[in-house]
């Protein structure tokens, strides 16, 4: 079928000394680039630069910016291009300093400029950082779950007295739980408490990690679950450390929570701090 949107003859193939020089795809008049980002960090701004070999033989540049959302939701913008060969381009961070695992970018060829533009070709996908731009076109797209992830130390919710801890993997994230620490202060009520760390998928429990030493009235214990730790309870410093599964990856909605046998109304969990490796899930 004839293409009514292509108003000029296709550009000649760019060449060096008569030899075809590999480039990106040919973009018609009605085709542009779409940038989609999934970002977790505040104040990130991306710059998008592309070089085109146009129908009249000129090489032109496009310079655009893209501001991602800060809650791991998709933000999209269209980069308008002239008709011609896409020689290449890059997306780089121009504000803030995201880590691998925090700002994932997808570059596509789309037909149309609206939010309903139809994607016709994936050019690149991968993380960007202050030191690592995303080049396009690329032969292989990176998954948002590739790489080392971003190390994050997170302060959780301090529950009310008598309540349990419950931390949730945010929408759009995947976590690997590396360590989890809290302080449990037992009230004067006489009871034998046993804190347990539950990990569930949002409903169904698949991991139960018990503290080995019971906690009695008016005691305050530091509780630490960590990958690679031996199970140790040290009474002088009131510290218990418990082994955590290695490589425990958690999808969005999964919970890390306590369930405490014989917890009393005035017992208090506090200083909830945990270390995770985070990726963008993008789902």
């Amino acid at each position: 079928m004839a293409d009514p949107s292509s108003s000029v003859a296709p550009a000649s193939v760019p060449s060096r000394g008569g030899v075809w020089a590999s480039t990106g795809p040919y973009l018609r008049m009605d085709e542009d680039l779409r940038i989609t980002s999934y970002n977790a960090l505040a104040s990130v701004v991306l710059s998008v630069r592309a070089r085109m070999y146009e129908a009249d033989g000129r090489v032109t540049d496009s310079i655009d910016s893209h501001t991602p959302n800060t809650n791991r939701t998709a933000a999209t913008s269209i980069v308008r291009t002239a008709e011609g060969w896409l020689l290449g381009g890059e997306v780089f961070v121009s504000s803030a300093a995201p880590l691998i695992g925090q700002t994932f970018v997808v570059v596509e060829v789309v037909r149309g400029e609206s939010t309903a533009a139809i994607a016709t070709q994936l050019l690149a996908a991968g993380y960007v950082t202050a030191k690592q731009p995303l080049l396009f076109p690329q032969m292989f797209a990176q998954s948002s779950l590739d790489g080392a992830g971003a190390l994050r130390s997170i302060t959780g919710t301090t529950p009310a007295a008598g309540a349990e801890i419950s931390e949730t993997v945010p929408t759009g994230a995947r976590w690997e739980l590396l360590a989890f620490q809290t302080t449990f202060t037992a009230s004067a009520a006489v009871a034998t408490r046993i804190p347990i760390l539950f990990v569930d998928d949002g409903a169904n429990i698949f991991s139960r990690l018990y503290c080995g030493t019971t906690i009695t009235a008016s005691q305050a214990w530091f509780l630490l679950w960590g990958q690679g730790l031996p199970n140790v309870s040290e009474a002088n410093t009131k510290t218990q450390q418990i082994a955590l599964e290695t490589g425990l990856r958690l999808a969005a909605g999964a919970r890390i929570r306590t369930s405490t046998t014989a917890i009393q109304g005035a017992d208090q969990y506090s200083a909830v701090q945990y270390l995770v490796r985070e990726w963008i899930e993008g789902a």
């Binding site: 939701t73 009310a160 349990e164």
Partner: protein, 108 residues
């Protein structure tokens, strides 16, 4: 700092590394579940092994009992209309003074 009206938990809406924090209420504690059972708000199922109703201390290790007014600030989706909506508003939050920072610079 915010305080969740539903569960009483307190939290900072932004973590130290500058990312948003999404609070979700914890399930009921054992004491809360016992109170709900005694008030006939919850009927515990029969234990599949013994055939008699589970006791609250057993039930709470087998499933999570959620409060009806729970707050879940996580977004419904990462794209589309759900990307602008949190999962459950609950009873809202109140603002409290921020706690002391974890690092304090002391003058010479």
């Amino acid at each position: 700092m915010l305080k969740c009206t539903a569960c009483g938990g307190t939290y900072m809406p932004t973590t130290a590394d500058g990312l948003q924090y999404f609070h979700r209420c914890p399930p009921l504690t054992l004491a809360e579940l016992i109170a709900k059972v005694q008030a006939n708000k919850v009927v515990l199922p029969n234990d599949p092994v013994t055939g008699v109703p589970e006791t609250p201390d057993v039930a709470i290790t087998r499933r999570s009992y959620e409060r009806a007014n729970l707050r879940d600030e996580n977004l419904q989706a990462t794209s589309g209309a759900g990307a602008k909506l949190i999962k459950a508003v609950g009873d809202g939050t109140t603002t409290l003074p921020d706690p002391a920072p974890s690092t304090v610079m002391v003058p010479k």
